[in-house]
């Protein structure tokens, strides 16, 4: 089944064969994977999907992989949880958590995109993969490269704390620390991606890589019993995830896998200290103004997002909105999710929970409607975000009487 039509420019529509290219030669617009949906109709069914593995690969027919899956066989199909306690706290009827904080193997939704990129790199005959990252992406690329026995180069700014790279170094990649300003490091990585015949996952492999995010959207629909929620809140950095979830829902509609029209409103969640996409949405302007990030939400700190314009368009087209969260609100969001549902998410999840709360409080999300909150990363990777906020409640000497007294004090305080 020739399911791939090739690549298509998102700006001028020119078509290209499916090769490792990412920019349109004519207009420099970004390229996107294009499929033969006609050939997939009736072949990809609810039954064929249900018969697949309990991973993102149950949707392999809708991903840009033509051969066998090479790495990340267990990525995805993470829990969709009916969050009753959080719903009560938010005073909202139907709240769901799509929980990629437990995505295998590196605890963030980035495993979805990287598993596709690395599999595609093998398919194209590459022996080296690379990325520039300060966190989740680096973890995932290094892990999947190790599994696929590929060489990997991970570029980081030299001033990144050592603790941040342990979860990457353990997989034995070549870690390159670059001295320079953010702009200089960024530019260098773009030049390296241009010069070397490597699969730079989020640069020359971006068209394939980003398609992996669609699986997040397919899973939401399938896990809801092949229906779409009224609202999905998505944390945005480069702006790719939100556009791909939307693409996924529309594809399911095209293929006849969901009944009725897709009426999901897609809402963008960003930090106040780095929120250029939400600013566009709030100002109702299609002009993205790059910002200098200043937020504790490091995994969302992209000041000049490649897909910012498309993310804005998705929010508009779907009837969704967006909100910013302050650093304080981000922490509160993390604590709220942990306290109500027992899920420890990272700052990106804190942003998403905080933004959901705001959208409900301001009436943008009506309290009687169904809401899916996208939790995309795990808090245990970067616990430092909370160090100053949390401490042991009770400190005692090792005697029963000391504990009795402490317990009595606690009960007094509570009453």
């Amino acid at each position: 089944m020739a399911k791939l039509k090739g690549l298509k420019c998102r700006e001028c529509g020119r078509q290209y064969p499916a090769t490792p290219v990412h920019v349109c030669e004519f207009c420099f617009g970004p390229l996107e994977v294009d499929y033969q949906y006609e050939a997939l109709k009736g072949v990809v069914t609810r039954e064929s999907i249900a018969a697949g593995p309990p991973s993102m690969w149950r949707y392999k027919d809708l991903l840009p992989i033509e051969g066998e899956v090479a790495v990340g066989h267990h990525v995805g199909f993470t829990p969709l949880i009916r969050a009753q306690n959080l719903a009560e706290e938010l005073d909202c009827k139907e709240v769901w958590i799509k929980n990629d904080s437990v995505c295998h193997p590196t605890w963030s939704f980035k495993d979805r995109v990287v598993a596709v990129a690395v599999t595609k790199a093998r398919e194209f005959g590459f022996d080296t993969v690379a990325c520039a990252s300060t966190g989740n992406l680096a973890n995932s690329v290094a892990a999947h490269a190790a599994e696929g026995r590929l060489k990997s180069y991970i570029f980081i700014p030299a001033d990144l704390e050592q603790g941040k790279v342990l979860g990457t170094l353990v997989y034995n990649p070549t870690l390159v620390a670059v001295h320079g300003t953010y702009d200089e490091v960024n530019r260098l990585c773009s030049e390296i991606a241009d010069k070397y015949r490597w699969a730079f996952v989020n640069v020359n492999f971006r068209p394939y890589y980003s398609e992996g995010s669609k699986s997040f959207g397919y899973e939401i629909a399938e896990q809801l019993g092949w229906r779409t929620p009224q609202h999905i809140i998505v944390p945005c950095a480069g702006g790719s995830l939100i556009t791909k979830i939307w693409k996924a829902l529309k594809e399911l509609k095209t293929l006849g896998l969901i009944d009725g029209p897709v009426k999901t409103k897609m809402h963008a969640a960003q930090a106040l200290g780095c929120g250029p996409i939400v600013t566009m949405i709030k100002n109702d302007s299609d002009v993205l103004r790059p910002v200098r990030p200043n937020t504790i939400a490091k995994s969302l700190a992209i000041g000049n997002p490649a897909d910012g314009y498309y993310a804005y368009k998705v929010a508009k087209e779907s009837g969704g909105h967006g909100e910013h969260a302050t650093d304080e609100e981000i922490i509160e969001g993390m604590l709220l999710l942990a306290r109500t549902e027992g899920i420890f998410t990272e700052t990106a999840g804190g942003v998403t929970v905080a933004v959901t709360k705001k959208l409900i409080e301001t009436g943008v999300i009506p309290r009687g409607e169904s809401v899916v909150i996208s939790i995309t990363g795990n808090g245990l990777k970067t616990p430092d975000a909370l160090y100053e906020r949390l401490e042991a409640h009770v400190k005692i000497k090792p005697s029963l009487s000391a504990f009795d007294r402490a317990l009595a004090d606690l009960k007094n305080q509570a009453s």
Partner: protein, 79 residues
């Protein structure tokens, strides 16, 4: 000769200035504009620049000193 694809972002105070004219004339850089969006108070241009490596570096530095934001065509790649 080196070729590079960049995205230039112009703040409002530079919109009326002949920046690209000077880039070509003073530095002898060949430019080829592919896409642009210039509004009253803001604008960006996606273009290709071609010149010797040193010349390009000097041209880019001049642009930045003027207040133009110079990014690779992919924009932020550190994720």
């Amino acid at each position: 000769m080196t070729r590079t694809r960049v995205r230039l972002t112009f703040p409002s105070n530079l919109i009326q200035e002949p920046i690209l004219y000077h880039l070509v004339k003073d530095f002898d850089i060949v430019i080829n504009i592919r896409r642009a969006d210039v509004k009253e108070d803001y604008g960006w241009v996606a273009l290709e620049m071609e010149a010797g490596e040193d010349t390009l570096a000097r041209g880019v530095k001049w642009l930045k000193d003027k207040g133009v934001q110079v990014d690779p065509i992919e924009r932020d790649v550190i994720a």
